[in-house]
Amino acid sequence: MEVGTQKLNTSNLKINDFLKKYKMLLVFVGMIIISSIISDVFMTSRNISNIMRQVSVNGILACGMTFVMLTGGFDLSVGSLISVSAVVAIGMQDYFGVAGAIIIALVIGAIAGSLNGILLSKINANSGDAFMITLGSQLVFAGAALLYTNARVLPGSKSEFYNSLGQGTLFGFIPTPVFIFLIITIISHFILSYTSFGRKIHLLGGNYEAARLSGVRVYFYKAIVYSIVGFTAAIAGIILSSRTLGGSPLAGVGYELDAIAAVIVGGTSLAGGEGSVMRTLLGVFIIGVLSNILNLIGLSSFNQMIVKGIVIVLAVWLDVKKQ
C-alpha cells in the first residue's frame, strides 16, 4: 500500500517536472493548433512570414531586456530609446552618410542605456528603484527625441540599403529584420549560456550579495546590461524607421512593455537569476502569434490590448506562484 503511494508520487513528480519545464512551449503549441483550426489563413507561408516580420523588432529588444531582467532589473526607458535612435539614424544621414548615422544611433543607444546602468548600479537599485528611475529616463529620452525633430516625423531615408533593413529580403526568402533578429538571438543566447560574462549575469541575478562577496564585479555587470538593452533598442529603432519609411519621435512608444511582457511570458523570473534567451524567444512568439490570430479573427486593437494585458498578468502570476 505504502510502496504504491510512493510510486504514484514519483510518477506524478515526473509529469509535474515536465509540465513545469515545458509549460510555455505547450501553451505555444496549443495556440498554433487552435489558431490553424479557427483561421484558414493562419498557416499560409505569407502569414507566417508576416508574423516573423512583426515580432522581429520586439524580439531584438526582448533579447536585450533578457540581460537586464536576469540581473533582477527592469528598463522602461527603451521604448523612448527606440524613438531616439529612429530619429537620429534618419536625421544624421544627411551629415554623416548612412553608415555614419547608423553607428551614431547605435552608440547613442548604448551610452544612454549605460547612463541608466551606472546610476542604478551606483545606488544599488532594486527592481522597484529601477522601475521608477527608468520611468524617469523614459521621459528624458522621449523629450529628447521630440526636441530633435521639433515633434515632426522625419521623411524616410533615400538610401536603398537603409530601407532594405526593414523591408528587404535576404537570400530570396528571409526578411532582413527577421535575419537580424535571428543573429541577435543567437549572439545573446551564446553570451548568456556559454561565456563567463553570461554566467556572472546569472550569478549576480541569483544573489547579488553572495556574488559580490565571491569576487564578482557586480557593479560593472549590473551597469553593463543596461548598455546592452540600449544597444538593442537602437537596432530596433533603426529597423523600425526603415520599415515605416520615416523617423517618428514617437516610434518606440509602448515597445518597452511588449519586450518586458515577452521576457516574462517566456518564463524568465522577475526576481532575476533564472531565465534564458530561448525562453524569451518563446515569449516573443507567443505574444506575436496571439496578436496575429486576434487580427485574423477581426478583433479590434482595443480588444487586443485587453487580451495582451491578461496574458501578462497571468505570466507574472505563474512566476510568483513558482517562487
Binding site: 505504502e2 503511494t5 510512493q6 508520487n9 514519483t10 506524478n12 513528480l13 509535474n16 556559454y194 561565456t195 563567463s196 560574462f197 554566467r199 556572472k200 546569472h202 550569478l203 541569483g206 544573489n207 550579495e209 553572495a210 556574488a211 559580490r212 562577496l213 565571491s214 569576487g215 564578482v216 564585479r217 537569476g273 533564472e274
Partner: protein, 497 residues
C-alpha cells in the same frame, strides 16, 4: 504534573512528492514539561511542528489537545487551541513597535474607534515584564537584538494565552549570556504550567533545561527518553543512527610564520583600534558576544565593508583591500555567517557555486570550459564529501551541512591561504559539524591559516590554537590555547568586559 497529557499527536504521516517526511509519528507531551525534539536536519522535526501549527496538513493521523481530538487546519486554528510557535526566522515586522508586533492584527480600540495606544502599550509592557524583560514597548523591533526579538515573540505567544509554545532552535543565534536569560524564562514559563516543545541540536541545553527528549530520524520516532536517565552519547547515537567518535577531533599544532597582520583597524562606532596577527597552520578563534564586532572585523579585513583607517599585511607586505575582489586576489576567503543570504546562490547549481570564486580558471577566451568546470566541481564534492545527487543539483535542495561544505569548497577552489570562517557550524547537525571540524583540521595541516568565529564557546576552545576575545569593537584579551587549557569562564569574563 504526573501523567497529565496535554498534547498527543497520533500516527502522523506526511509525504511530499518523492519523499516520505513523516512515517507514523506519535508524540505525547505532558502538561508543563519542557520536551526536547531532536534529530538531524531533514529528520522531520520542522515538518511535524508545521503540521501541529496547521501550516501543513498531515496525510493521516490525529492531533489531540487536552483529551479532545482537534482539527487544526490553519495557524489561526492552532492559536485558538492554545498553540504558539516561535520560528527561527521571526514573524516580526521590523518597522513596527514592540507593542504593535505583540498585538498585530488585534489592536484594541477606544469607544470612538481610535487605536488605544495607551492600553496596548501598557499590556505589552506587562507581558514583557512578565518574562523579565524591560524593553520599552514603543521601541521599533528592527532596532532590537536577536535575543530581544525572541523575547518579543515569547511575549506575543503569551498574549494569545498559549498553553503550548514550540521553540524552533531558539538558541541557535544567541550568545551564552542571552541563552542563560532564555533558559531562565523557560524555567519561569514552566512554573506557570506552560508546556514547551524545544527543538534543538545542542546537547548541553537539552540536559540543562528539558525533562524529556524525543529523537526523530528519517521521519520516524526513534525513542522518547527521560532526560535525567539518559546521556549525551545515547541521544547522539540515536540521532545519527551510528556511534560518533569524539565530538571535537584532535590534531597537532602546525603553527608557522606570520601570514596576516592587521594593524589599528578602525570603523566608526563598530571597530576600535583592532590589531592582531595570524600564522600559517593555525586556527585563531574569535570569541565574543553577538554585537561585539567579530563579524564586522572580518568583513572589514575581507573588504566587504569599508574601514576608516588601519593597515593589513599579507605575508609581510602591506595590501590595500577595498573590495572582496582584492581580498580574494590576496588569498583571503570569507565564509559568511549567513549562508543563505550571503554565502550561496541558492537557486544555482552546486557546480556554479563552487566555480564562482575562480571563474578565470575555467574560462578560455571568455568561454566557459564545461568539462573542466565539471571535473573541478566533482573533485571538490568528493574531497569534502558533499552529499548531493549531482553537481548540477540546485544548492537550495541541499541540507544545511552540505550547503556549508559547498561554501567551503568554493573558497578552497579560490586557492585562499587565509580562510575566515564566520560561524561555520551554525544551524547544521551534529554529524555535519564533526565533518566541518575535520575539514578545518585538514586545512591547517595543509598549511592554511584559519580564523574561526563562533558563538559556541566549547567549539572555539576545542579547535583554536589561539583565541581572541572581543568586546564592544575591541580585542580585550588574547589567550594562548596550544594545550587547550583555556576555560569557558575565562573567555566569558573577557567577553562581558
Amino acid at each position: 504534573m504526573g501523567n497529565d497529557i496535554i498534547l498527543e499527536m497520533k500516527n502522523i504521516c506526511k509525504s511530499f512528492p518523492g519523499v516520505v517526511a513523516l512515517n507514523n509519528v506519535s508524540l505525547s507531551i505532558k502538561r508543563g514539561e519542557v520536551h526536547a525534539l531532536c534529530g538531524e536536519n531533514g529528520a522531520g522535526k520542522s515538518t511535524l511542528m508545521k503540521i501541529l501549527y496547521g501550516i501543513y496538513r498531515a496525510d493521516s493521523g490525529e492531533i489531540w489537545i487536552n483529551g479532545e481530538k482537534r482539527n487544526i487546519t490553519s495557524p489561526v486554528k492552532a492559536q485558538e487551541n492554545g498553540l504558539s510557535i516561535i520560528f527561527q526566522e521571526f514573524n516580526l515586522v521590523d518597522t513596527l513597535s514592540v507593542a504593535e508586533n505583540i498585538f498585530l492584527g488585534r489592536l484594541k480600540t477606544t469607544k470612538s474607534g481610535k487605536i488605544d495606544w495607551k492600553s496596548i502599550e501598557k499590556d505589552a509592557a506587562e507581558l514583557m515584564l512578565h518574562i523579565g524583560c524591560d524593553i520599552d514597548p514603543k521601541t521599533p523591533v528592527g532596532s532590537l537584538s536577536v535575543s530581544q526579538k525572541q523575547m518579543v515573540e515569547i511575549a506575543k505567544a503569551l498574549s494569545y494565552n498559549a498553553e503550548i509554545i514550540v521553540m524552533d532552535e531558539p538558541s541557535a543565534t544567541l550568545t551564552d549570556r542571552e541563552m542563560e536569560n532564555l533558559y531562565r524564562i523557560i524555567q519561569e514559563l514552566k512554573e506557570k504550567k506552560i508546556t514547551i516543545i524545544y527543538i534543538s541540536h545542542k546537547m548541553d541545553e537539552i540536559f540543562k533545561i528539558t525533562d524529556r527528549v524525543t529523537v526523530l530520524r528519517d521521519g520516524v520516532v526513534i525513542c522518547t527518553l527521560d532526560t535525567c536517565k539518559t546521556c549525551r552519547e545515547e541521544i547522539v547515537s540515536n540521532m545519527v543512527g551510528r556511534c560518533l567518535g569524539q565530538e571535537y577531533p584532535k590534531r597537532e599544532n602546525y603553527s608557522g610564520e606570520k601570514v596576516l597582520e592587521v594593524k589599528n583597524i578602525n570603523r566608526k562606532g563598530v571597530l576600535n583600534d583592532v590589531s592582531f596577527c595570524l600564522h600559517r597552520g593555525e586556527v585563531l578563534g574569535i570569541a565574543g558576544l553577538v554585537g561585539a564586532g567579530r563579524t564586522e572585523l572580518v568583513r572589514a579585513i575581507f573588504g566587504a565593508d569599508r574601514i576608516s583607517s588601519g593597515k593589513v599585511f599579507v605575508n609581510g607586505k602591506e595590501v590595500r583591500i577595498k573590495s572582496p575582489i582584492d581580498a580574494i586576489r590576496n588569498g583571503i576567503a570569507l565564509l559568511t555567517e549567513d549562508r543563505k543570504q550571503q554565502g550561496l546562490i541558492l537557486n544555482n547549481t552546486v557546480k556554479e557555486n563552487i566555480s564562482i570564486t575562480n571563474l578565470k580558471d575555467i574560462v578560455k577566451f571568455g568561454l566557459l570550459m564545461n568539462s573542466k568546470e565539471n571535473n573541478i566541481a566533482k573533485e571538490y564534492v568528493d574531497r569534502l564529501s558533499v552529499k548531493t545527487s549531482s553537481i548540477n543539483q540546485k544548492c537550495i535542495n541541499l541540507s544545511g551541512g552540505n550547503q556549508q561544505k559547498v561554501v567551503l569548497a568554493k573558497w578552497l577552489y579560490s586557492n585562499a591561504d587565509i580562510l575566515i570562517l564566520d560561524e561555520p557550524t551554525r544551524g547544521i547537525d551534529v554529524g555535519a559539524k564533526q565533518e566541518i571540524y575535520h575539514i578545518i583540521n585538514e586545512l591547517v595541516k595543509m598549511g592554511k591559516a584559519v580564523i574561526m568565529i563562533s558563538s559556541e564557546i566549547p567549539e572555539v576552545l576545542a579547535l583554536s590554537d589561539r583565541i581572541l576575545v572581543m568586546h564592544k569593537g575591541r580585542i580585550t584579551r588574547e589567550f594562548k590555547n596550544e594545550s587547550r587549557n583555556v576555560t569557558p569562564e575565562q573567555v566569558m569574563n573577557c567577553a562581558i568586559g
